[in-house]
């Protein structure tokens, strides 16, 4: 098997750890979200929302724990969407000529970049988990050891699919746009509805219809569904809502993300095969 994509991965990670400002902000930003937004909101919500009587055996999840999954998705969303900027810079400053004139298959550029996007996402998720625990996020609360291991694998799988789908999406946009300024604008514009028309911070059920519809086609919603299932269990109370995820829901979310990843990959591949950089 050809492994040149590891070269692209290597270079990107080298720069991730090397450019200290980039490293620092990407590690500190999710923690700040959790600390500032999470704590202030949860201290409000947990006191406002009446403690509805709970069915026996169903756990009550505090808001901080509920929205931690949202912070994970937000972080991955931004990290991966912005990853395309690497390609944009490579294109704008001519570095991509070196790759395109080499025998490296073009798909390897995409795959290599996705690997580094996944690696960054995992590092950030880990930070949120650790920092969140300190703040009072309680994941895997009622899980047995086996269940926890199973859940961690499930989370990894969801992160993988979600991250690469976003990365290929962002690569496609990056390769099609002419300047990185334009790219930044498009990505900011795209990330807002993706994040807010989802169940990241609040339940979908009470959203206006239009936003609800968007959220049903939104990979972020499905990612979070999977994430909550694997961190909080298949039924729990939070934020005044009763959540129940069936195995079917989770499987559907998984398939949705798989479809998202495959279709964005095909788009990205088509784009990079046609890309002209001179």
């Amino acid at each position: 098997m050809r492994t040149e994509f590891l070269t692209i991965f290597w270079r990107d990670m080298l720069k991730f750890f090397r450019i200290k400002a980039m490293l620092f902000t990407s590690l500190i930003q999710p923690a700040l979200w959790l600390a500032l937004y999470g704590i202030s909101m949860s201290s409000n919500f947990d006191s406002i929302i009446p403690k509805i009587p709970i069915n026996q055996g169903v756990i009550q999840v505090n808001y901080l724990t509920f929205m931690a999954a949202g912070v994970i998705s937000l972080t991955i969303l931004f990290t991966c969407l912005y990853s395309g900027i690497t390609l944009q810079f490579d294109k704008e400053f001519g570095l991509m000529k070196e790759m395109l004139a080499s025998p490296l298959p073009r798909s390897h550029i995409l795959i290599g970049l996705s690997l580094s996007g996944i690696a960054k996402s995992l590092i950030q998720t880990f930070i949120i988990l650790v920092f969140g625990y300190v703040l009072g996020v309680r994941f895997f609360n009622t899980f047995s050891l086996m269940e926890t291991i199973f859940s961690v694998l499930g989370i990894l799988l969801f992160i993988l699919l979600f991250a690469i789908g976003l990365l290929f999406l962002s690569s496609t946009i990056a390769l099609r746009l002419k300047t990185h300024e334009g790219l930044q604008g498009v990505i900011t514009l795209l990330s807002l509805p993706l994040f807010f028309a989802s169940n990241a911070l609040y339940p979908i059920t009470s959203l206006p219809l239009a936003i609800k519809i968007i959220s049903y086609g939104n990979p972020v919603s499905y990612f979070i569904q999977g994430l909550r299932y694997f961190t909080l269990g298949s039924n729990f109370y939070s934020f005044g809502n009763y959540y129940q995820y069936s195995s079917f829901d989770v499987l559907f979310a998984l398939l949705f993300l798989l479809g998202f990843a495959i279709s964005t990959y095909l788009f990205a591949l088509r784009t990079i095969k046609k890309v002209k950089i001179v």
Partner: protein, 319 residues
């Protein structure tokens, strides 16, 4: 039988409506240094970009190292090295990492890669800068690093798009020597330049390209001799009339109008110049300036195009 490393037949390339390369054909002999000489916008880089598979081939037939560009682009990518006209370095990598990255792109085995990197860093005299970030290198050092990178894969053909642009005379000289050395080891060199002296010094064959067309092709000496032994540049107050008079003189091999003067080729300039002056004077035409020189590639260009290779030259003459 001459073996050719590159053959190009009927190559055309258009950016939208702009015909950047307009039906050119040429051959590069295995093991030679071949220069593509032409002014800004002539189509040199476009040609290189097509030859190195960065631009799609629109019209024409190209073969490099025995591979057809249309059907075996990957084979060609493996057998060529390129130094681009504009810098293509990642500023956040070190010198060594830059080479390492390139070697890995071409899947050169680790041991070989390390050996070659060590060797090349020595050759381009960047040992001290091995772990320095590219952003901290001088312009000339960056260029040398790019040349080293182009050689890392031991290509059969090395494409150099204006390799010495922005270098001081010393560094230029050193890079020329290095290019010659690499060439002696068997690498065919395809060079583009708009320095006449560079083309003249370095190469066997020269192809002069202008506005997408090849206007002259051959050994430097042959190109120059085709103008005759000497050229005379003449400026008068009535260029039109002078042109007609001189055209009739049998001593004159060729005459050509340029925007600001007349260019005249003759066999024996020292003998013919006084006669020329006399002829013109008797017609009541005033000579503003006249000078005699041995033909250079500059003159070859003027001869074929009626234009100056460089805009600056015209200005200098007008002073």
């Amino acid at each position: 039988m001459v073996a050719y490393e590159i053959t190009v037949e009927g190559l055309k390339y258009q950016y939208g409506k702009i015909k950047a390369v307009n039906d050119i054909s040429f051959k590069v002999i295995k093991g030679e240094i071949f220069s593509f000489l032409g002014p800004n916008g002539a189509g040199k880089t476009t040609t290189i970009n097509v030859l190195t598979t960065l631009l799609p081939i629109q019209k024409g037939k190209i073969s490099i190292s025995g591979f057809d560009l249309r059907t075996q682009p990957d084979e060609i990518r493996k057998s060529i090295g390129i130094v681009f006209q504009n810098e293509t370095l990642d500023w956040n990598l070190t010198v060594e990492e830059t080479l390492e990255f390139h070697g890995r792109l071409y899947a050169i085995p680790k041991k070989t890669r390390k050996d070659r990197i060590n060797e090349l860093i020595q050759i381009v005299k960047l040992e001290e800068k091995r772990d320095e970030f590219v952003k901290n290198l001088s312009g000339g050092m960056k260029r040398k690093l790019e040349i080293a990178r182009g050689l890392l894969t031991r290509p059969k053909v090395l494409f150099l798009d204006e390799p010495t642009i922005g270098l001081d005379p010393n560094s230029r000289m050193r890079i020329w020597n290095y290019i010659k050395k690499v060439n002696k080891e068997g690498v065919t060199i395809f060079l583009t330049t708009h320095y006449m002296d560079e083309a003249d010094q370095l190469s066997n064959n020269i192809c002069i390209i202008d506005r997408g067309k090849i206007i002259a092709n051959g050994f430097s000496e042959v190109l120059k001799q085709s103008l005759g032994m000497d050229v005379i540049y003449l400026q008068t107050d009535q260029d039109e009339k002078t042109f007609k008079i001189i055209k009739k003189m049998k001593e004159i091999k060729n005459i050509r109008k340029t925007p600001s003067e007349l260019m005249i080729s003759v066999e024996d300039g020292q003998k013919n110049m006084p006669r020329l002056i006399e002829q013109i004077r008797t017609q009541g035409i005033e000579i503003k300036s006249i000078y005699l020189k041995k033909p250079t590639l500059d003159d070859v260009f003027i001869h074929y195009t009626g234009r100056y290779f460089r805009e600056e030259k015209k200005k200098k003459i007008n002073i």
